[in-house]
């Protein structure tokens, strides 16, 4: 028996969507997945204050969540973690897509890094369970892709549009 997180109804094991409310019932696809090696794990605590402390440099970036039309505007920062908040494991992404349907869309808790270097934005997939896509093309795990204004970035199936000033 599964309990739907969205409406608390009881559903059969093996159900993919909740019969009552239509929410995706598939379990978190990355709870036991080994975290990618390298900088992401150790770097997280340092990343967190970046959003609030970096002075506005005029190179802010906006992510438009295409499913909800919500806009997330952030000041330029060397590295921003995109993922899903998991307080129990002290994962506090700078860009928490959990608030934007990220769970349903298969966003990993540590999904990708949005980096700003030499006046350019890029994204790096952190070996996410369901992939990072730039304009529909899936990035190899840990591959880096440059981002331009108007690009469509998808974390799992959550589509985001990049807007640069």
């Amino acid at each position: 028996m599964i309990i739907c997180e969205n409406c608390q109804s009881r559903q059969f094991d093996g159900a993919i969507f909740c019969l009552e409310c239509g929410a995706n019932l598939q379990p978190r696809r990355d709870p036991t997945r080994p975290l990618p090696q390298g900088k992401s794990a150790g770097a997280t605590p340092n990343l967190r204050p970046a959003v609030t402390t970096t002075a506005r440099s005029g190179a802010s970036i906006t992510l438009v969540v295409l499913t909800t039309r919500q806009r997330i505007t952030l000041d330029a920062s060397e590295e921003l973690l995109i993922g899903r908040e998991d307080a129990a494991h002290s994962i506090h992404p700078d860009i928490d897509l959990g608030e934007h349907g990220g769970y349903d869309a298969g966003v990993s808790r540590r999904h990708a890094i949005l980096a700003y270097r030499n006046g350019e934005y890029s994204v790096e997939d952190l070996g996410s369970a369901n992939g990072t896509f730039v304009n529909g093309k899936r990035l190899e795990p840990h591959a880096v892709a440059r981002l331009s204004s108007g690009d469509e970035l998808a974390c799992g199936t959550l589509p985001l549009r990049i807007e640069l000033p």
């Binding site: 028996m1 059969f12 094991d13 093996g14 969507f17 239509g22 598939q26 295409l66 499913t67």
Partner: protein, 425 residues
């Protein structure tokens, strides 16, 4: 190769965890014809047009419909029957059901139709049912092709009753709504049975293409009176069966005897994929291989004589220790399930809106939009989202938005249908 239907089956999971609880598995059934002769013998067609000629049809709409009717007449062969009934406040038979031999005369009859008056559909439907039963066809495809642009008042239940009578006698109903004023709930209810479908034509200029496509579809029927039977194991059950291709439609399935479910699937067209999604509840399963359901398809194949054909398929899966089962589900199954969920969500949203539960309706539309986004139906997902916002703000959805969503989620939108690639192979 003897002609027949080939059935391909995909499970959401072929391996499940052993469990002492029931669990759910989704089964995608995809049927394709095989071994058909390249030149299929055309089945005689028995077609009756039922055309709304109320005053709102005046001008462009009626002109397009007449043009479309003429094109149908051109498409018909010597074996085919054609009848034409028109209605406004009353109904009349313009061309009694007859072999399409004298095409000039039939077209002249079409030309004499003029628009005036109100809309009273049931009388028109009753006359059409009368006409369509005239020819004594031992074999063939009988359909009523209804076109309307308005609402009928007070005789809705009679319309549904006549539609059911026709369907039970093997005459399907193709109901086409033009513009935004017609009653989509009525057309949907009338066509919620085998061999029937409703379509939304937003622009009158698409009428001819849609008519032509429907006639082509009727001419391409390769299997008739298809019937499915599903036997589950004790402790299991069939929760639902839905058609997902060529368009989404719930299938009326009933438990006919203990643990055996059955449903009529109507006539099948050769150039269209036929797919169904089955929701199967499994009994508690111990470790090992299990046959969990038996599926039987019976049908007749006009090109291969009249005797009943039958195929059987046993659904098997393996139960492993739960920790090894994994959560991976088949992508194609999930895609169609996602589309089906979007259809169900919008459908329950309109019901909620009808009974004044606007917040609930909005929530359901938003979830439908999420499902559509995930299924890659981005444009439709946006339409649903916009209507959800409008509904929350103003308490009502737009007529056009409602129709677009209702028919769009089923894959029945617009003019000529384009076969959509879904990434499934």
């Amino acid at each position: 190769m003897a002609p027949g239907i080939r059935l391909q089956r995909t499970l959401s999971r072929a391996v499940v965890g052993a469990s002492d609880e029931q669990q759910l598995v989704y089964v995608l059934l995809e049927a394709t014809p095989e071994g058909l002769p390249t030149q299929m013998p055309k089945l005689p067609l028995n077609l009756c047009l039922v055309i709304d000629r109320s005053s709102s049809m005046r001008g462009e709409r009626l002109a397009q419909v007449k043009e479309a009717a003429n094109r149908i007449i051109d498409q018909l062969g010597q074996e085919d029957y054609f009848g034409l009934v028109v209605f406004n406040d009353r109904a009349e038979v313009i061309a009694p059901s007859q072999r399409a031999l004298n095409k000039t005369e039939l077209k002249a009859a079409v030309g004499r139709v003029e628009a005036a008056g109100g809309t009273e559909m049931a009388t028109g439907m009753a006359l059409a049912l009368q006409e369509i039963q005239r020819p004594m066809l031992s074999r063939g495809v009988s359909r009523m092709l209804l076109l309307t642009d308005g609402r009928t008042y007070g005789d809705e239940s009679r319309c549904v009753e006549i539609a059911r009578r026709a369907q039970s006698r093997g005459a399907g109903l193709i109901a086409l709504g033009v513009g935004n004023e017609w009653n989509e709930d009525l057309l949907e209810t009338m066509t919620a049975s085998e061999n029937s479908r409703a379509r939304y034509i937003s622009s009158a200029s698409d009428v001819a293409a849609v008519f032509a496509e429907e006639v082509q579809r009727m001419h391409a029927v390769f299997a008739q009176r298809v019937r499915i039977q599903l036997a589950a194991r004790p402790g299991g059950l069939v929760r639902a069966l839905d058609q997902v291709r060529p368009f989404i439609a719930p299938v009326a399935i009933a438990e006919e005897s203990d643990l055996v479910w059955g449903a009529n699937l109507g006539d099948w067209t050769g150039h269209e994929a036929q797919s169904f999604l089955l929701e199967l509840v499994l009994p508690p399963l111990a470790l090992g291989e299990h046959a969990v359901a038996k599926l039987t398809l019976r049908y007749s194949m006009p090109s291969a004589g009249t005797q009943l054909q039958q195929i059987e398929d046993v659904v098997r899966l393996r139960a492993v220790p739960p920790a090894q089962a994994g959560y991976q589900v088949d992508g194609t199954v999930k895609h169609w399930l996602e589309r089906l969920m979007a259809y169900r969500l919008q459908s329950s949203a309109w019901q909620a809106a009808e009974s004044g539960r606007i917040e609930e309706a909005t929530k359901r539309l938003k979830m439908a939009s999420t499902r559509l986004f995930d299924a890659g139906e981005v444009a439709l997902a946006r339409t649903v989202e916009e209507e959800a916002t409008r509904l929350l703000r103003s308490g009502v959805a737009s007529e056009e938005g409602r129709k677009r969503i209702k028919f769009g989620t089923r894959g029945l939108l617009g003019g000529a249908t384009e076969e959509r690639e879904t990434g499934s192979s």
